[in-house]
């Protein structure tokens, strides 16, 4: 039965699609987009199918090729996995559709490689989420990352250097992770996550485990751009082609945070990560610093995309802080923010892509009058901005709500203050944009007392606007569906598993 093979199809369909696209790039470039779309549609289909199955039957253990776990690779699919899978697959698909126009314009002669790398990168990300094997995760991590470096390097003239910088940092991060996994393997003789959890339980006092944990976490922090390890991110995402930045900005950091949550929940167990190590205080302080630093640095930017990248740095702080509060509410907030932030970042970067597409400039001051010229794009940007600020009923409010609540429960008031401060700074950030876009006509003086003023519209093509509006609408829909998401997926994910939280 095909529905039983969803975990494998999820990875194999886009992987095959990527290979076919690479071929088509030589033979018949017109086919690249349809192939990519089909591949990702297959991924979305499998992810939604898995979501429905897990919602009905509970977690699934899938053995790749039928090999039993210690030898073969197991895919562990629980409530958290399916939630993130659906987000990753749909973000990738929506962005692919939205980016077609820019890809065809910017990558005229490299459509084949571009689409192939795009789909390959998504394959890697989906695999990372679905795998239940620590070493397999590393392999997929590198697949996603390597194709990502290449995608970024296809951007503006400064992109190759930014990508090289990212490559160095990313490789260090991945190596740290591999080092940690190596230590775990020496200690336990297994790479399967479920097995690892069982065999690590007696080792909680061991210094080797401590080193493994720290090395893995620091490696992941590097890959997720957790302040102060964020240096590679702004350049890489700013100079990347629009299509690549709006794929990677919503997904890469979020998937790394997912890996961190997954390892803490299913391998090290919360009892070890929070109960034995007691690093919460330190990490939550770091996260608070990340939030404030990200927001302040965003404030200093004149480049729209760069401003958005610093917002990502702040948002990573939200999630890391939420996780390390070490409580159920905190993790709920972090996971909820993970999926909300993916949608918000996607909307922001799609809007930015539309603006860059039309104005050919990333500078904030060139946004003047853009509400009149590009009303739909700006509507999307406004929705995303309000979600980031945390205005209900947009989804950003609700994850912030859980995080605030968790911070209060845990008595971590500096985190509470950082969350509120960053909301206020985002309000300044976005209203600065809106003010310029609404009230400063691109040409001529303000039209006080001059009757109706008509300006020519120069909206992005529908193929870019419609996906943007879909993404923007999802911000409200996800906000209103918060209770369903939390009770249907996040809480079951947190209460199951070896280290269920109280």
């Amino acid at each position: 039965m095909i529905s039983g093979q969803y975990p494998a199809l999820l990875v194999i369909v886009p992987l095959l699609a990527a290979c076919l696209i690479a071929l088509a790039g030589w033979l018949k470039p017109v086919l690249c987009f349809p192939l990519a779309a089909t591949g990702l549609l297959g991924a979305v289909w499998s992810a939604v199918g898995l979501l429905l199955r897990v919602a009905g039957e509970g977690p699934i253990l899938y053995r790749l090729g039928g090999w039993p776990p210690p030898v073969g690779i197991a895919y562990a699919v629980d409530h958290l996995t399916v939630l993130v899978l659906v987000v990753v697959a749909s973000v990738a698909l929506v962005n692919l559709v939205a980016s077609r126009a820019t890809i065809e314009r910017e990558q005229v002669h490299r459509r084949g490689p571009f689409y192939a790398l795009y789909v390959l990168s998504v394959t890697g990300l989906l695999g990372i989420v679905v795998t239940g094997d620590a070493f397999n995760l590393y392999v997929l991590l590198e697949i996603a990352a390597l194709s990502g470096y290449a995608l970024i390097a296809m951007g503006s003239p400064r992109a190759p250097l930014a990508s090289l910088n990212y490559l160095f940092m990313g490789t260090i991060g991945a190596t740290f992770y591999l080092l940690g996994v190596g230590i775990l393997y020496i200690q336990t003789g297994t790479l399967n996550m479920a097995d690892l959890a069982l065999r690590l339980a007696p080792l909680h006092g061991s210094p080797a485990l401590l080193v493994a944990f720290l090395v893995i976490i620091v490696g992941l922090w590097l890959k997720m751009a957790f302040y102060p390890l964020h240096g590679w991110l702004p350049g890489a995402y700013t100079y990347a082609p629009s299509a690549a930045s709006s794929l990677m900005a919503p997904l890469t950091t979020k998937v790394m945070i997912y890996v961190m949550i997954r390892l803490i929940l299913s391998v090290f167990t919360p009892a070890y990560a929070f109960g034995v190590l007691k690093l919460e205080g330190l990490v939550v302080w770091l996260a608070s610093a990340a939030i404030v630093a990200g927001a302040v640095m965003a404030l200093a930017q004149r480049d729209l995309k760069k401003m958005l990248t610093y917002l990502i740095v702040a948002e990573v702080g939200y999630m890391v802080g939420g996780v390390w509060l070490g409580t159920k509410t905190g993790l709920t907030g972090a996971i909820l923010h993970l999926i909300n932030d993916a949608a918000m970042t996607l909307t922001l970067f799609l809007a930015a892509a539309n603006l860059v597409f039309r104005t050919k400039s990333r500078r904030i001051e060139d946004l003047k009058g853009s509400f009149a010229r590009m009303p739909w794009t700006m509507t999307g940007l406004a929705a995303a901005g309000l979600a980031v600020i945390g205005v209900p009923p947009f989804c950003g409010f609700f994850s912030k709500w859980y995080l605030l609540q968790a911070a209060l429960e845990a008595g971590q008031y500096q985190f509470l203050a950082a969350l509120l401060l960053s909301s206020l700074i985002s309000a300044v950030l976005f209203f600065r944009l809106f003010e310029a876009a609404l009230f400063e006509p691109a040409g001529g003086k303000p039209g006080h007392g001059r009757g109706r003023r008509e300006e020519g519209m120069a909206e992005a093509p529908p193929s870019m606007v419609i996906p943007l509006l879909v993404a923007a609408a999802s911000l409200v829909a996800m906000g209103l569906a918060t209770r369903l998401i939390v009770q249907g997926f996040i809480l079951p994910a947190l209460s199951g598993g070896p280290g269920g939280l109280s």
Partner: protein
């Protein structure tokens, strides 16, 4: 009595929102303004249709969606909410008429944007009025903040942008910085945010925490202009006058005061406040604002700025009345929402009519203008008397109840505050009228035969001026609703 489940509260909120797409796509300004009127009338009809069940003692409830465990977007129409909704929706009709006169008279730009955001703002106002819990209230409060921002910056010149920035800084800064954490605390303490007649946090928080909560809410709803968070109001007077009239004398500022009333009664509870002696704290904060803002108003020459400072003082009357925690005080506070709204909107629309007819904005330039615009200044007189609280105007009724409330609460000092403020109100309003009628003309524009503003700008203030007088003789249904609300909410 069993609450009545009905979708009407939701419809009343949404009707103006539904008009927005039509407004925006209308090619012709007559069509556009026709739709504005239609939406305004439909809104009033929907709100008024809720009056019979509420007067009969039933609450009308509707739950839209359960967003978080224990938190829903839900509506509940009780006497207090209905009172406020009735005031806002009836005054929207008058203001729409005035907007047409004003905006066409001055040939303003971007009128479509103006009408669209006005409609959104009204939706949000009714949403606040009908909120069944603190979360829903916060949601609509924020929608209102955002929807009024483009209205404040309408002139889109440097000064307007500065005014808009100040507006957002104060309003969003306090709502995110103070109300949001206070709301999270309330939810953590009690697991609910649903308004209840005697509040829901009694017994969950000590004196220090309680005081902090009260302060966070009173200052956090900065739309109420409690000092020191009042400075956005004069700055926002840069908006076109109809905006100032409806939003900054009625909807926005009253939403602030209403939110504070809701929290004092529905979240904290009058009984709890009395036991904690916190009513007095709030009362003195409000008293300070009342006196200081009245003194500042005295020194203002810009008519709209004087009105703005007067509004700041009058809003604190409402808060003071609620803080008295006595049935009379609450009745006074609730009815002052209505009475002050009619009085103050008259004053603002008069200021607008004067500006449309003569371009004058400063009181010193209006000497002798009364002989030229007698109807406008008579309306101004009626509005002034109502705001001062003198018969035969509606304001007398609410201030009378407030004064009785201070006696019930046996705090003569607060009575002195109210009386001296009324005296100050008279000092800054009556000379305006006196100069207009009895001083020699300031310049040529103040001379000549009677020449009022165009009818669209003249009739609305005259109507609301008449209404201010009529409310003295016939204060129902506002007073009935205020009394009912005071009985249920202050019965502890």
């Amino acid at each position: 009595m069993e609450p009545l489940v009905s979708i009407r509260p939701l419809l009343a909120v949404l009707v103006s929102l539904a008009a927005v797409p039509v407004l925006v796509s209308a090619r012709n300004r007559n069509v556009r303004e026709g739709w504005t009127f239609l939406a305004a009338v439909a809104k009033l009809v929907l709100v008024a249709s809720l009056l019979p069940p509420v007067l009969a003692g039933r609450e009308v409830v509707y739950t839209l969606v359960q967003v978080l465990p224990g938190i829903a977007i839900a509506f509940k129409v009780d006497p207090l909410g209905l009172l406020f909704a009735l005031v806002s929706s009836s005054l929207w009709i008058v203001t729409s008429a005035f907007s047409i006169g004003y905006m066409r008279g001055l040939n303003e730009h971007s009128q479509t944007r103006y009408y669209a955001f006005f409609a959104v703002a009204l939706s949000a106002t009714i949403g606040v009025a009908f909120s069944a819990n603190l979360f829903t209230l916060y949601l609509f409060y924020e929608v209102l903040s955002l929807a009024t921002y483009p209205l404040v910056v309408h002139h889109q010149d440097g000064e307007a942008k500065l005014g808009g920035r100040k507006y957002l800084t104060y309003i969003l800064g306090t709502s995110i910085g103070l109300v949001l954490p206070a709301m999270v605390v309330c939810y953590l303490l009690s697991g609910t945010l649903d308004f209840q007649p005697q509040g829901f946090i009694a017994g969950t928080v000590g004196p220090l925490g309680g005081t902090l909560l009260v302060l966070a809410f009173v200052f956090g709803f900065a739309k109420a202009g409690v000092m020191p968070f009042h400075a956005w109001l004069p700055a926002a007077m840069i908006a076109p006058t109809p905006v100032s009239a409806l939003l900054h004398a009625v909807a926005v500022v009253k939403v602030g005061a209403f939110s504070i009333l809701r929290v004092l009664t529905g979240v904290l509870g009058t009984g709890w406040l009395a036991r904690m002696d916190l009513g007095l704290v709030v009362a003195w904060i409000a008293s300070f604002t009342i006196i200081v803002s009245s003194l500042i108003a005295l020194s203002q020459d810009g008519l709209k700025r004087r009105l703005a400072f007067s509004t700041i003082g009058q809003l604190s009357y409402i808060i003071l009345g609620a803080a008295l925690l006595s049935p009379r005080g609450l009745t006074g506070a609730f009815s002052h929402i209505a009475m002050h709204a009619f009085g103050k909107i008259t004053l603002f629309m008069c200021a607008g009519a004067i500006f449309v007819a003569t371009g004058k904005t400063h009181i010193s330039q209006m000497a002798g203008l009364g002989r030229r615009m007698p109807l406008t200044f008579l309306a101004f007189l009626a509005g002034s008397l109502s705001v001062i609280g003198l018969p035969p105007c509606g304001g007398f009724i609410s201030k009378w109840n407030l004064l009785l409330g201070t006696l019930e609460a046996s705090s003569p000092a607060l009575m002195v505050v109210l009386l001296s403020s009324s005296f100050l109100n008279a000092c800054y309003f009556l000379p305006v009228v006196f100069r207009a009628f009895f001083h020699p003309p300031f310049d040529r524009a103040c001379q000549g035969p009677v020449a009022e503003a165009p009818p669209w700008a003249l009739v609305p203030p005259v109507l609301t001026g008449l209404a201010s007088v009529a409310l003295f003789f016939y204060p129902r249904p506002f007073l009935d609703l205020a009394r009912m609300a005071a009985t249920t909410l202050g019965g502890g």
